[in-house]
């Protein structure tokens, strides 16, 4: 008593194989769809903005007239912003990661903090903007200066840095710290001399990637309030500032006021993308260069 009809199976086989091949092709198309959009986006931006990039554009102050406008102010603003974000997030992020991975007793509190961090990573950036506006700009009365923006951004990227640092600390083999303890080293000596140096490449990679997130973020700064026209260069963390994404934002929405602003926005996008690309390349370089040395 045969249930399986060999001929029938033979007949089905061809259509099944054809189906398989067609869908494989569709899956492939889906995969490159994103890349095609990416290519279109980049080509489009370059075509629109590349002509506008020259030394003057990079070094000039902001101006209402397109042919005089430059983005040095926004570049410096981004720079100052990072000067706040980098130390704050590194200290807080790596500190938290060290605490959670190496000091905290694995228990309720640790689990709670961990869940909390995971949830913070999912909070929309604009909500951080509201937090920053309420606390830094208004309650602490910093005003819409670099410090307020930087602290807001720091809180925003903190969960990312924490998780990345935790992962690279976890990746340091236990036997290294055991060797250190075996020499009579105290916990902090072991952490400082052995674990952190070994985890450093991973921490750096994670940090650079989250910094590029902070560099590209716009929404929280919109909430904090960045003036539409701010010409002088920021010179410190208590100065008002604008950053590259904000400049893109204003120029994009004002493009219906002055048409060339759209080109300026595109040119600024190129600069921003190049900056982010360099950062990511650095991160990848560090990752490849220092990965798995023990």
């Amino acid at each position: 008593m045969k249930y399986v009809d060999t001929n029938q199976i033979q007949k089905n086989m061809n259509s099944r194989l054809i189906k398989n091949n067609i869908l494989k092709f569709i899956f492939f198309l889906a995969t490159i769809f994103g890349l095609i959009v990416l290519a279109v986006l980049i080509i489009r931006v370059i075509m629109q903005g590349a002509n506008w990039i020259n030394m003057d554009f990079l070094t000039n102050k902001l101006s209402t007239s397109p042919d005089r406008a430059g983005i040095m102010g926004a570049i410096l603003g981004t720079f100052w912003l990072m000067l706040v974000v980098i130390p704050v997030t590194l200290i807080l992020g790596v500190g938290t990661a060290i605490y959670l991975e190496l000091y905290a007793k694995k228990g309720r509190f640790q689990g709670f903090v961990q869940t909390n961090i995971a949830n913070l990573a999912g909070v929309p950036s604009i909500v951080y903007g509201i937090l920053g506006m309420t606390i830094f700009v208004r309650a602490l009365n910093f005003g819409n200066v670099v410090l307020a923006g930087g602290l807001t951004m720091s809180l925003l990227v903190l969960p990312i840095i924490i998780v990345a640092s935790q992962e690279s600390i976890r990746a340091v083999p236990q036997h290294l710290s055991e060797a250190s303890y075996g020499m009579g080293a105290t916990k902090w000596q072991t952490v400082k001399n052995i674990i952190l140096p070994a985890a450093l490449p991973g921490i750096l990679t994670g940090s650079i990637l989250s910094l590029s997130r902070a560099i590209g973020e716009t929404a929280p700064l919109v909430v904090i309030g960045i003036p539409a026209l701010l010409i002088p260069f920021p010179g410190g963390i208590m100065d008002k500032f604008t950053v590259l994404p904000m400049q893109i934002y204003y120029w994009t929405i004002d493009s219906s006021l002055v048409e060339e602003y759209a080109n300026l926005a595109a040119a600024t996008i190129i600069i921003l993308l190049v900056l982010l690309f360099l950062l990511n390349a650095t991160a990848i370089f560090i990752r490849n260069k220092f990965q798995k040395r023990f």
Binding site: T64, A228, L230, P232, I253, S256
Partner: protein, 311 residues
């Protein structure tokens, strides 16, 4: 410094000298002005103010003037506050409540009339029917009395009118609501926007659009939107720098625009007063290119001398 002695006798040649005046001021002035000036308020006035700020900073690089454009009403809220802004641009006169608020705070404010703006009714460039409208028709459209163009005039297309305008943060909205619609509510499905540039785009992209905003935004986008000629009773008048000028034919929809100065701040911070003087000395020079009609010279001069008196 140069102002106080020269103002009285300089009245006639003020116009020619004004720019030199400020120029020489920078050189001769021993006390260098520096610090920051914070301006917020009208989006209509923004292009003019931004231009002035930029030019000013070219001459006085140590002063930082920042200009925002939250809208007249929103701007007043930030102006009328402890540690508020130094100037508030306004496309309407200050309201009584706002004046009361200032008194409450013990704040002295000064109204500076900077230019004249014609409220412009705009349509899509392909709109070849509603090129002229009477005041009543405008009212009817924005009050929602007409649904389709054909309701206004049977010869016009039987398509739904899409209305656009700036939102309630804006003085332009309030001017329109108070002076043109006589405080009757706007049609409920009107599309109100915070950003003027978005507004321009929307009208430029919608064949059945009709919207309103300051002349400057129309002037900069003549290729994208067209202005409707308004019939105030003596035939249609198109807004232009000439017709919106003092006593021009477009007077029905023309309004003065202002910037309000926090006098206390001006007394405390030399750079604020310095900038105020710069505005009143130079505003007429830049009014035209940013889409405003200049105010009469005398008015400007009076304001300059009043400001000088604050020194």
């Amino acid at each position: 410094a140069c102002g106080s002695d020269s103002e009285g006798d300089n009245k006639d040649n003020n116009e020619e000298e004004s720019s030199e005046n400020t120029g020489s001021e920078g050189d001769s002035d021993s006390e260098k002005v520096e610090g920051s000036v914070v301006i917020d308020g009208s989006g209509t006035v923004f292009p003019l103010m931004a231009k002035l700020a930029e030019e000013y900073m070219g001459e006085k690089p140590d002063v930082s003037v920042e200009v925002s454009r939250a809208g007249t009403s929103a701007g007043f809220e930030k102006f009328l506050a402890e540690d508020g802004t130094d100037f508030n641009d306004a496309s309407r006169v200050i309201k009584d409540e706002e004046k009361a608020k200032a008194e409450e705070l013990g704040m002295e404010i000064k109204e500076l009339k900077v230019a004249l703006d014609g409220l412009t009714i705009v349509t899509h460039p392909d709109n070849d029917w509603a090129t002229e409208l009477t005041e009543d028709q405008v009212k009817g459209i924005f009050l929602g009395e007409y649904t389709n163009w054909s309701d206004v005039n049977p010869e016009w297309p039987e398509e739904k009118i899409q209305t656009y305008g700036p939102n309630e943060n804006h003085g332009t909205y309030e001017f329109f609501y108070e002076n043109i619609l006589e405080e009757q509510d706007l049609v409920s499905d009107i599309n109100l926007q915070q950003d003027y540039s978005t507004l321009v785009t929307l009208v430029a992209e919608d064949k059945n659009a009709i919207g309103f905003f300051g002349f400057g935004y129309y002037d900069n986008n003549k290729d994208k939107v067209q202005a409707v000629g308004i019939d105030f009773g003596d035939g249609a008048v198109e807004p232009s720098l000439d017709t919106i000028a003092e006593d021009g034919d477009y007077a029905g929809y023309t309004r003065p625009v202002f910037t309000y100065l926090n006098v206390d701040n001006a007394k405390e911070k030399p750079q604020v007063l310095d900038y105020a003087l710069y505005i009143m000395n130079n505003v007429n020079e830049f009014a035209g290119e940013t889409g405003f009609a200049p105010i009469p010279e005398e008015e400007a001069k009076t304001l300059v001398s009043e400001l000088e008196a604050l020194k």
